[in-house]
């Protein structure tokens, strides 16, 4: 690792994609990203729209180091993802990136509260200023309250509604206070109230010097983005 989370200052470059190409060979060859370049600076709320299956998730997974590009460069916090070990990449993901996955992705044997506690404990092993048990509990309670699922703290994920699960995934991504939030259709399954609430909760990430990269198939939340793009035929087109 070349720098800690505190090294990223506001208005500095948080991540950059340089001419990134990604191809899937599954029977036929599909190229969702064909020479995509994008700069994401601290304070950005980037909104990317596109029809389903066009490659929006692929873009986020590439930025998060969960997928490798065929060609081009991806830099996060000035670190080329191709040049670091799997161990360091894991630490980078843990300490700087928050994922909101499109599909339900929770630990099914952990309660709502435990899903968040466990995430903080994982992060704790990489940070110098470790959170105490009381700090963790306080944070978990606060985020559950923010997402309106405080009364479901001891429920298992399968006992929640689809919308409540979505909110739990949002809470898990935000509770670590990452610099870069990668949100893949974060408002799916949510009613209007909670969809707007989730977008509201993402906003402070960019305000405090981080950045949000959100993809969606509709325009909900697009108005919050300071930069808007459309992904189509492997290319990002700016929208005004």
């Amino acid at each position: 690792m070349t720098a800690g989370p505190d090294a990223i200052k506001a208005n500095h470059l948080l991540c950059e994609l340089k001419n990134v190409v990604k191809t899937y060979k599954n029977g036929e060859i599909v190229r969702p990203l064909d020479g995509v370049s994008l700069r994401c600076e601290a304070g950005d709320f980037i909104f990317i729209k596109g029809p389903s299956g066009i490659g929006k998730s692929t873009l986020l997974y590439l930025v998060g180091g969960l997928l490798q590009a065929d060609s081009g460069e991806i830099l996060v916090d000035a670190t080329n993802l191709k040049s670091i070990s799997d161990y360091d990449l894991t630490i980078l993901r843990a300490t700087k990136i928050g994922f909101i996955f499109q599909e339900t992705s929770l630990f099914q044997a952990l309660t709502v509260g435990e899903n968040l506690t466990f995430t903080l404990k994982i992060i704790n092993q990489y940070t110098k200023n470790k959170l105490s048990k009381a700090d963790i509990n306080e944070k978990v309670a606060a985020y559950l309250e923010k997402l309106g699922i405080a009364d479901r703290q001891d429920f298992l994920p399968h006992q929640l509604s689809v919308g409540q699960r979505r909110r739990l995934m949002v809470a898990r991504a935000l509770i670590t206070e990452p610099r870069l939030v990668l949100a893949d259709e974060p408002t799916n399954d949510l009613d209007d109230f909670w969809a707007n609430k989730v977008i509201e909760l993402l906003q402070p990430v960019s305000v405090r010097g981080g950045a949000v990269m959100m993809v969606a198939h509709n325009m909900l939340g697009a108005e919050r983005g300071n930069r808007r793009y459309t992904l189509n035929h492997g290319a990002l087109t700016p929208q005004h």
């Binding site: 997974y61 969960l66 996955f101 995430t119 898990r172």
Partner: protein, 399 residues
């Protein structure tokens, strides 16, 4: 990670139960085999140590079986002329020779021994086999109305027992020997001869036998420094028309037979172990497969490959540990009835389970469980750790 592993297991009870069941059964079978085999071996060794005699002389009859004579309590009414004792005493290398006479109880009515049980009458003046047991019971000699009973003979009417119409006081109970002595009555030679001569019912069982002129066995102790085989050869030279059995040979034969049975048991158990390991590999692999996405999420939020590996391994160890505990307890409980059942059907020397053996079985059970869990979990744990997180998260999710 231990806590996470434990929650994964305790909140997926159905999946965990099957795995625990497989482990429990394997450990249970192992504990039963181990406890039974070890116990039997100890019984044989103890028999040898406590038998006291180097050579056993039995009548040279086709039906005479040294093994039965030594290890079982079955009535064995075999006889040879009493003069043979004098001839034996003269054989070079014989230090001590003591005769025994076998008679038996009969099916009788109330307040008496109601099954056919062997009675061994011994000569107080020459005996060297039972003397240590008498000393242990603080007895110098047996009165005519006294008997000693083997440790497995139940007491009748308090400390009295009716045998062939006479009532005897129980002077003492022998310590366990693991042989037929444990189910035998021991009495004075003169008393036994009187009973055999006067009891009409017993006369019917022993027709044409003059109890005053016969013995059933002669136990020999060889002189210090003498080779047992040499003394056996000397007795053979005397041409006494008897069956000569070196007791260590009987024990050696027993050990050999037991060793063969043990090898078969261990071989079968090893096959069972292999089958179980394969079943558990399949089980853990399937579980890891089902939870691939969770492993991907763990990697995505900051879990290292080693965390995934540890998680699968911890879960396997916990399952195996619980299976071990249950299997060991079940095995220990099941081996007691098994031993009792085998004792009824076979002429084995088997002792009661000791706390030491139980502890030994439990410890070995833990070792087996770690082996099972570790072996079976290594492959799925390694495979899960090597998976790229995006592969498993994005399955069915990629746009």
């Amino acid at each position: 990670m231990w806590k996470f592993a434990w929650k994964n297991l305790s909140r997926r009870k159905g999946q965990s139960f099957l795995t625990i069941l497989i482990t429990s059964l394997t450990v249970m079978v192992f504990v039963m085999i181990f406890a039974f085999y070890t116990n039997f071996q100890q019984g044989v060794i103890l028999s040898q140590e406590r038998l006291g005699a180097d050579i056993l002389i039995l009548p040279n009859e086709a039906s005479t079986d040294a093994y039965t004579a030594l290890y079982t309590a079955k009535p064995n009414n075999i006889y040879m002329p009493a003069e043979i004792l004098d001839a034996i005493k003269k054989v070079e290398g014989v230090a001590l020779a003591s005769p025994q006479l076998f008679i038996q109880t009969l099916n009788a009515g109330c307040c008496a021994v109601d099954s056919e049980t062997r009675i061994v009458a011994f000569d107080m003046d020459t005996d060297f086999v039972l003397q240590p047991w008498l000393a242990e019971a603080n007895l110098d000699s047996l009165a005519d109305d006294q008997i000693i009973i083997g440790c497995n003979v139940p007491a009748y009417l308090g400390n009295r027992v009716g045998i062939l119409g006479d009532v005897f006081r129980i002077a003492g109970t022998m310590s366990p020997t693991g042989t037929g002595m444990d189910e035998t009555f021991f009495m004075n030679m003169d008393v036994a001869k009187r009973l055999a001569a006067t009891n009409e019912n017993l006369k019917e069982v022993l027709p044409d036998i003059d109890p005053q002129a016969v013995y059933s066995a002669i136990l020999i102790k060889v002189q210090d420094g003498c080779n047992v085989a040499d003394v056996v050869a000397n007795i053979e030279k005397a041409d006494l028309n008897v069956s000569i059995v070196a007791t260590d040979k009987v024990v050696t034969n027993m050990k050999t037979q037991m060793s063969m049975i043990g090898q078969i048991m261990i071989g079968l158990w090893f096959l069972l172990l292999m089958v179980t390991v394969l079943a558990l590999i399949g089980r853990f692999t399937a579980l890891a497969q089902v939870r691939q996405k969770e492993m991907g999420i763990l990697r995505a939020i900051g879990g290292q490959k080693s965390d995934v590996f540890k998680l699968i391994l911890f879960e396997a160890c916990l399952l195996a540990g619980i299976g071990e505990l249950m299997g060991s307890i079940l095995g220990i409980y099941a081996v007691g009835p098994l031993i009792n059942w085998l004792q009824q059907g076979f002429t084995f020397s088997i002792l009661a389970l000791t706390p030491g053996l139980i502890a030994q079985s439990l410890l070995l059970g833990i070792g087996i469980a770690i082996l099972l869990g570790g072996l079976a979990a290594l492959y799925p744990a390694g495979k899960s750790a090597r998976l790229d997180p995006q592969e498993v998260i994005m399955k069915g999710e990629i746009e």
